[in-house]
Symmetry: C2
Subunit: 279 residues, 2 copies
């Protein structure tokens, strides 16, 4: 696997870098960003937080807007931000912002034309960590987090792979995609009409039946315009109660769906992940 | 003066808001952003930091990327970010990114066609603070800061109005625009060929002859691609030595011209301004 360095910026004593590489899983060229804190230059292998962004985002949004690099530099955590879907002229797409490029929903598509490239679940779980861990001075300690569509991705990926992640967190996740317009539209396209195949990618369905627990922290803005129709945090809470899942879900008065919300509470998330890295 | 609220986002317990208003100084509609920290809701009048952005920016860049809101919320400082020039179809423009809209250089233009709208110096010094102080719960304690073209703007505006600002700071300012390509191109257009009129907008020229001192803090990335040809921090240092100006200028190894640099050191700037607000 060869990767190409695209950009490099010093930040908080560490380095933010963007790379491109050919993904064999996605069958296209992909871009990702990594923040390596100062501790990565000390000969130590440091843990990694994977961040999955929401609809329409790329590898850049979180790195530029979240304020996370400051805290990662203090705690000695690397952050990896993949793109939100396969990309390129040859990759299937849709005119809507909520399907196709920028909107992978982090699933393995089974339906044509999507199944040729849209294998983001395998990319995030397998190929990307393998590339990161063989290229950078990082350990196999991993956490995963995300926002909105990426919050859905983080929660489902952590629950399906409890041995691979020490903790998971989400801002404003799409908590029950089987039962919201965004999820129904994309799951129909990527996974087909059989809803049995949808359950494996539904955080509320997985949490309700969970028996192995990855500690989970979720923050949701109470003034988020998408909360009632698309995000449904109450379904995740109800599911956690059924299985006894260790879910710390907080509703924040006045906050919306934007990075103004994420940046306000990202420090809590990084400290939460650091605590579980150190257990 | 009527202003229209465009957006509102809760952040760090306070409120980020964007407004539009008709500027009589600029003779066009203008947009600005303000961050009001939680302390603005306590019936107190709080001090204001004005932030002037660089070439191609709008009111959004600093608010989204700097990480300053967290510290403003701690210290009880409002932040106001104007746009970087007059805007609109009727406003003179140029194909280059470094002249016309997005590139006012914060001067009062004297040459046609620019002089009809490009009066950003008066807008930033007079009209905008008047609007802010009559609309929001802020005091007349002001500081000013900026990046690149905005660092030039902040330094010149503070030195020309020492009674109006308690402190000034800049990241990577265009320190000697009379002697760099960016400054020579824009000053020729906005101010004409007579270089005597340029000196009033040149931070190094003003600092060298200063007799009233607004405390000044400047940070410059040593790996900034624009440093040698356009920014010339050494000219500002030399000028400060001549007049004995209290300039705290630091060169930072490895940092570039981006917000990855600004965000790394913005906390120091806000604490510097808070210290002088409290004197």
């Amino acid at each position: 696997m060869t990767i190409e360095n695209l950009t490099i910026n010093k930040s908080f004593g560490g380095w933010h870098k963007q790379y491109s590489h050919h993904s064999t899983t996605l069958n296209c060229k992909m871009q990702f960003a990594i923040y390596l804190p100062p501790q990565a230059s000390n000969g130590n292998k440091i843990p990694v937080l994977y961040w999955l962004s929401g609809l329409t985002c790329t590898d850049e949004n979180f790195m530029q807007k979240s304020g996370a690099l400051r805290i990662a530099a203090e705690l000695g955590i690397a952050i990896v931000a993949p793109d939100t879907s396969p990309r390129g002229a040859e990759v299937a797409d849709d005119e809507g912002y909520d399907l196709g490029q920028g909107a992978s929903f982090y699933v393995n598509a089974t339906q044509a034309p999507w199944n040729r490239h849209y294998q983001m679940y395998d990319y995030v779980v397998q190929e990307l960590p393998k590339l990161i861990e063989s290229t950078f001075p990082v350990s196999a300690k991993r956490a995963i987090a995300g926002h909105s569509m990426g919050g859905h991705g983080a929660l489902t990926i952590a629950m399906l792979n409890p041995q691979r992640y020490s903790s998971v967190s989400a801002f404003s996740p799409i908590s029950n995609p089987m039962n919201c317009p965004w999820g129904q539209r994309t799951f129909s396209a990527y996974l087909g009409k059989d809803k049995a195949s949808w359950r494996n990618y539904d955080a509320s369905a997985l949490m309700q039946q969970a028996t192995q627990f990855v500690p989970a922290k979720v923050d949701q803005g109470a003034s988020d315009d998408f909360m009632i129709e698309q995000l449904k945090p109450e379904m995740l809470s109800a599911a956690a109660q059924v299985s006894g899942y260790p879910l710390d879900l907080t509703l924040h008065d006045g906050y919306d769906h934007s990075y103004y919300f994420i940046s306000s509470f990202i420090e809590d998330h990084l400290r939460f992940h650091a605590e579980h890295f150190n257990k």
